[in-house]
């Protein structure tokens, strides 16, 4: 039973078709990678699913419900969470507050009239924040200002924020971009742990093929907005059309 599916999803910017009739399914518990040369439409595809962009045509279904064109906060409330390509954090808040706000949203919905309730009284929110900070090994730095963290830690914090939303499915946009080999290694381990511990379904966009082949169950390959392969890593590796797309003059 698939958790997420898109049907003939299209996104056009003026005359340019960035996502072209993309239909694919992601099964519950699966780690799915999306790869493709630069400009293949990977980020646009994710943005169309998570609500940042409204698709021109086609539908997105999540957990049996049509979520085409919903607002980002609505998508998150339904269980779709996203970690950004750049460390999208709240720089002037503490590490703990960064995660707390996501936990708060998960516990209390997208809007509540509770502006006179003390924050300290939300035990569940604290419990979740602690657990997520622990998962990304930032619990010791909880009182630090987020801006003061090294880059790798900021990315981990970003992932913790995404996790604190208690998602069923996590979208990761190039989680190892700009990381040192050591940081990359730690992040891959983190993703594998998350998958096991939290039974997350993960959709990951990544350039690092080593990372992809290590963690992905299946790979969706895009080129110029179209799906050119949707198969296991082994099958994708042997696919002539994929090789053509990568080697055929388009830079990796």
């Amino acid at each position: 039973m698939s958790l997420l599916s898109t049907t003939s999803l299209v996104k056009q910017f003026g005359g340019l078709t960035a996502v072209d009739e993309v239909s694919f399914e992601v099964d519950r518990g699966e780690t799915r990678a999306v790869i493709g040369p630069n400009g293949a439409g990977k980020s646009t595809l994710i943005n169309c699913i998570t609500g940042m962009l409204e698709p021109t045509r086609g539908t997105v279904e999540f957990d049996g419900e049509d979520i085409t064109g919903v607002e980002p906060h609505d998508a998150v409330q339904r269980g779709l969470s996203k970690s950004f390509q750049t460390a999208s954090i709240f720089p002037e808040m503490s590490v703990e507050e960064n995660v707390e706000i996501a936990a708060l949203a998960a516990e209390h919905g997208s809007f509540q009239l509770n502006f006179l309730r003390k924050r300290e009284s939300f035990d569940e929110v604290h419990r979740i924040s602690e657990r997520m900070l622990d998962a990304v090994e930032l619990l010791d730095q909880r009182d630090h200002e987020a801006a003061s963290l090294p880059y790798g830690d900021k990315r981990r914090l970003e992932i913790a924020i995404a996790l604190a939303s208690e998602p069923e499915m996590l979208f990761m946009d190039e989680p190892t971009a700009g990381m040192s080999p050591g940081e990359t290694h730690a992040t891959v381990e983190l993703i594998e742990e998350l998958q096991d511990d939290l039974e997350l379904t993960i959709l990951i966009v990544e350039h690092d093929m080593e990372v992809i082949f290590r963690i992905a169950d299946r790979i969706l390959v895009l080129n110029r907005g179209r799906v050119i392969a949707d198969a296991t890593p082994e099958e994708v590796q042997g696919d002539p059309e994929v090789q053509e797309a990568y080697l055929g003059g388009v830079e990796l």
Binding site: T50, E71, P72, H73, V76, Q77, S81, K82, F84, S88, I89, F90, P91, E92, M93, E97, E100, I101, A102, L104, A105, A106, H108, G109, S110, F111, Q112, L113, N114, F115, L116, R117, K118, R119, E120, F122, I161, A164, S165
Partner: protein, 394 residues
């Protein structure tokens, strides 16, 4: 600054960077950081504020030959604007939304409160219709009612377009009150039919609570406004320490992320706008009580909105009470210092606005945290946040 503090074992490294010992540092920092204590400190300072501003400064002024003392109503006026900018800061300082239209809420509330006292006697007992409490209630309510649609529309745009939209709505109300709305507001002649009754049916607001001369600035009106100011600060403090506080701060730093943790950005910004308008409304009604006269230019005109911006920035957006300090500086300078006559230069007169503008620019440029934040930084720096920092510098 800390000449009389004993070094207490900690070696004094340099006369210029003299510091107190570590334990006092921590205490000081904790006090400055604790919001609840700031509220308590605010309450305490309200007990001495009128005496210092009116009596003491007058005496000092007489001694040095300048009239630098405040007049009796000044402490009240400062607190009225203090209430407004506490709320304005929730929007500007936390959520990062710069409104150039808050005079709309201030002015509408003032008019609503004033008109209420004039008209409500028709269907309410005079004691209620002229009650200061009812005026504040009616005014604040009116402000909230118009803030809902104005916010709903303005929040859809960001940055300068948000500022222009809020300004636009404010100016529409201003020109309406000045011209076509004259049947309601008495237009350019101003609305003078403000009938302020006794507080709780007992206390005449203009009277001092006691006869003694050193208490002459302690009028019932001051007591009323001071209680309102404390309530406003307490309320703001609660809001900042509620989930809203966290979300408002987050909105100011990374709006997109807020939406991607599953929060409805639009509705929270809208709430921030309405809440902040409520504070402006409370201030506006109190202003009507204080002045017993309302004119479009002193209440609805966009310069008034600009004054709120100046006060808030002057005092500092980084803290809850900072803007109140800004209101104090602004009102003191504009009402008292502007009347001072200097030996060489002559009357300061309207020069104060020039100085204020210059100070404002310097603050935006160098002290983004405002006077309060700047003072706090200086205190922390002088007392040495950590021995390490101070040691290295020395």
């Amino acid at each position: 600054m800390s000449d009389d503090t004993e070094p207490d074992g900690g070696p004094v490294v340099d006369e210029a960077t003299e510091r107190v010992d570590g334990s006092t540092d921590d205490l000081l920092e904790r006090i400055l950081a604790r919001d609840d204590l700031v509220v308590v400190g605010f309450v305490l300072s309200l007990f001495v504020f009128p005496y210092l501003l009116v009596n003491l400064l007058t005496q000092i002024g007489e001694a040095i030959g300048f009239s630098i003392g405040g007049y009796v109503g000044l402490p009240t006026l400062v607190l009225i604007f203090g209430i407004v900018v506490i709320g304005f800061n929730l929007l500007l300082g936390y959520t990062g939304l710069l409104s150039f239209g808050h005079a709309a809420f201030f002015g509408v509330s003032a008019y609503a409160a004033g008109i209420f006292t004039a008209e409500a006697t028709a269907f309410l007992p005079t004691a209620v219709a002229h009650s200061p409490l009812a005026m504040v209630g009616v005014g604040t309510f009116a402000a909230l009612v118009i803030a809902w649609p104005i916010g709903f529309v303005s929040i859809r745009r960001s940055g300068v377009y948000f500022a222009v939209l809020t300004l636009t709505f404010g100016q529409m109300l201003y020109y309406y009150a000045l011209g076509p709305g004259a049947w309601l507001t008495n237009g350019d002649n101003g609305f003078s039919d403000v009938n302020v009754g006794h507080l709780l049916g007992t206390f005449e607001l203009e009277e001092a609570i006691l006869g003694a001369d050193f208490l002459r600035a302690y009028t019932w009106q001051y007591v009323f406004v001071a209680v309102a100011a404390v309530f406003a600060l307490w309320m703001a403090n609660r809001i900042i320490n509620s989930p809203y506080g966290l979300i408002f701060k987050a909105l100011g730093q990374n709006e997109q992320r807020v939406s991607f943790v599953g929060l409805d950005v639009f509705r929270y910004k809208h709430m921030a706008f309405i809440i902040s308008a409520g504070f402006a409304g409370a201030g506006g009604a109190l202003f009507a009580i204080h002045e017993t006269y309302i004119h479009p230019t002193t209440s609805l005109y966009w310069i008034t909105s600009g004054d709120f911006v100046i006060m808030t920035i002057l005092g500092g957006t980084g803290s809850l009470v900072g803007p109140v300090l800004g209101a104090l500086i602004f009102e003191y300078v504009s009402n008292v210092i502007s009347g001072v006559s200097l030996p060489v230069i002559g009357a300061i007169g309207s020069l104060w606005r020039f100085v204020l503008g210059a100070v404002f620019v310097v603050i935006v440029w160098v002290f983004p945290k405002g006077v309060y934040g700047g003072v706090r930084d200086v205190v922390v720096a002088l007392t040495g946040r950590g021995d390490d920092d101070g040691g290295e510098e020395a």
